[in-house]
Symmetry: C2
Subunit: 309 residues, 2 copies
């Protein structure tokens, strides 16, 4: 049983409508949006990442799931392996800072001691209050425009810098270590979206999941992908850079399928929000990439498959 | 920072009333009782434990927290490290069986791959619907009688058998591997209790937590502790056996502090419930043990401190 088979097995258990077939960022239970993410040392973060940034990121990745569903953060439970005095203290400082920043109350959880030498494993269940609408991934319709809020590739480029030099710093490293959940934009987007999700594992992989859940395909214009100045300074904005950005993962951007009659103005986004129309949903299955009006073959790897049900 | 210091630090973060000061089995948020337990291979279960029983136990230990608060199981999120085909399949079979048995809907979670050789780490967040009353650990009052539902020591005795012989079987091993959450008894008890909790880390340790939260002490009669026939057959019922049962952990019995005017009949427990009055709360701090009317010194170790916030 590989990870896909595990998830298929889980889906057969998770028949409650609140589970949304385990095909969404979060469950929707009695007006609450609930999500859980677990991160492990050596898989989702680096051993030498500053502990405060690991704490921040654990909160942020969970809140990004709430943002994608238009929910308002309410409370969280923390699961934490403990053992190293200084690391644990700094990690909790990061948890506290993120909880304070986003009005999230820590209300419970569990601490465990792992056997000597085991990698740290840290989990969070985040609970949000559902907004007026909670779009699923599965509601997309052919003809919907695909909007992306945020920028792509920064985090993957920051990680690449760190893997080359653990002392690297700068906006790309900051994006990797301290992502910002786009909660206000999520509120605005979900008021109009037929489908929405956060982009955490790579745009093309996450979009393929949205398409699979919605029973359709998509056309994406690589040239339309929003890139930050820092990303362009590091990697350029040619096709290779854009494919890197489209598959990099850890973006915590938001992706929404919105009926074509809505435009950026009608979405009532917070001022300064970076938003771009990057393509549209189509009847034909699969993702069709283009750049400068010409078709581009899909890369072999669409993103980073580290799980997530 | 040791585990106590970590929890003290967490308490300074967790100021929301829903957190109950992180001094309870579960949080109480808008009519929902919410708990999270994480278990790790080599710490909370044995490498050679049958995977289905590990799955069952993960659900049961979470539901035991809901039982202690009188809540009705509603939904759960599972965090699961994956990697071993057969193990994962059997583990999920155990999860499914327990979810079905107790009407718990799996609605989400996360799957992660851990680095090669890392111990399995499995977490569950369980959500219950609060009953008419949700007693905290902190509501106990001097004069309350202490009632214990279930039996003590079976699981610790089963674990001892397994550590001597991994092929050991029988009711004590079953109790260790497949504990039963006392949900119906929890409903009945919490209708009357000033304070309640589940006994998961050892009666004396858990009682000391209830006393600390309630600002009082307790007197306990070792001779009154409810022991199963299987336990007595294995360990006898002398003082050493009773101290073993009082400190063993993994019991998933329920402990409640109930005003003295309530008796076993007025508690309206399901027929066949094993319940025993084991002592009372007193003003003087600390736990005073006795046996046959004579004082017994407290053992050095009151239970199994594996965390839990």
């Amino acid at each position: 049983m590989n990870e896909r088979e595990v998830i298929a097995r889980l889906r057969r258990i998770a028949t409650d409508p609140a589970a949304r077939g385990l095909a969404d960022d979060a469950a929707l239970l009695d007006g609450l949006v609930i999500t859980h993410d677990t991160i492990a040392e050596g898989v989702h973060f680096l051993r030498f990442d500053p502990p405060a940034s690991v704490g921040w990121k654990l909160v942020a990745v969970n809140l990004s799931d709430l943002a994608a569903k238009g929910a308002t953060p309410r409370a969280a439970l923390l699961s934490m392996s403990v053992g190293d005095v200084d690391w644990d203290e700094l990690f909790l400082g990061g948890i506290e800072a993120a909880c304070e920043s986003y009005g999230l109350s820590l209300i419970g959880g569990d601490t465990i001691a792992l056997p000597e030498g085991a990698p740290r494993v840290l989990g969070m269940t985040a609970i949000g209050l559902a907004g007026p609408r909670t779009p699923a991934r599965s509601g997309g319709k052919p003809g919907d425009r695909l909007w992306l809020v945020g920028t792509l590739g920064d985090s993957a480029a920051g990680l690449a810098q760190l893997l080359g030099d653990p002392k690297a710093t700068g906006p790309l490293v900051d994006h990797y270590r301290r992502p910002v959940p786009l909660l206000a934009a999520g509120h605005a987007l979900t008021a109009h979206a037929n489908a929405s999700m956060d982009v955490s594992d790579g745009l093309l992989l996450d979009l393929s999941r949205l398409c699979a859940a919605s029973g359709c395909g998509a056309e994406v214009d690589l040239g339309a992908l929003p890139l930050s100045r820092a990303f362009v300074a590091e990697r350029g904005q040619g096709r290779a850079a854009r494919l890197f950005a489209a598959t990099g993962g850890d973006d915590y951007a938001l992706l929404a399928a919105v009926p074509p009659e809505a435009d950026a103005l009608s979405l009532s986004l917070p001022s300064g929000t970076k938003i771009a129309p990057i393509g549209r949903l189509v009847k034909r299955h699969g993702i069709a990439l283009s750049h400068g009006g010409k078709p581009v073959p899909l890369p072999a790897t669409l993103g980073f498959e580290h799980g997530g049900i």
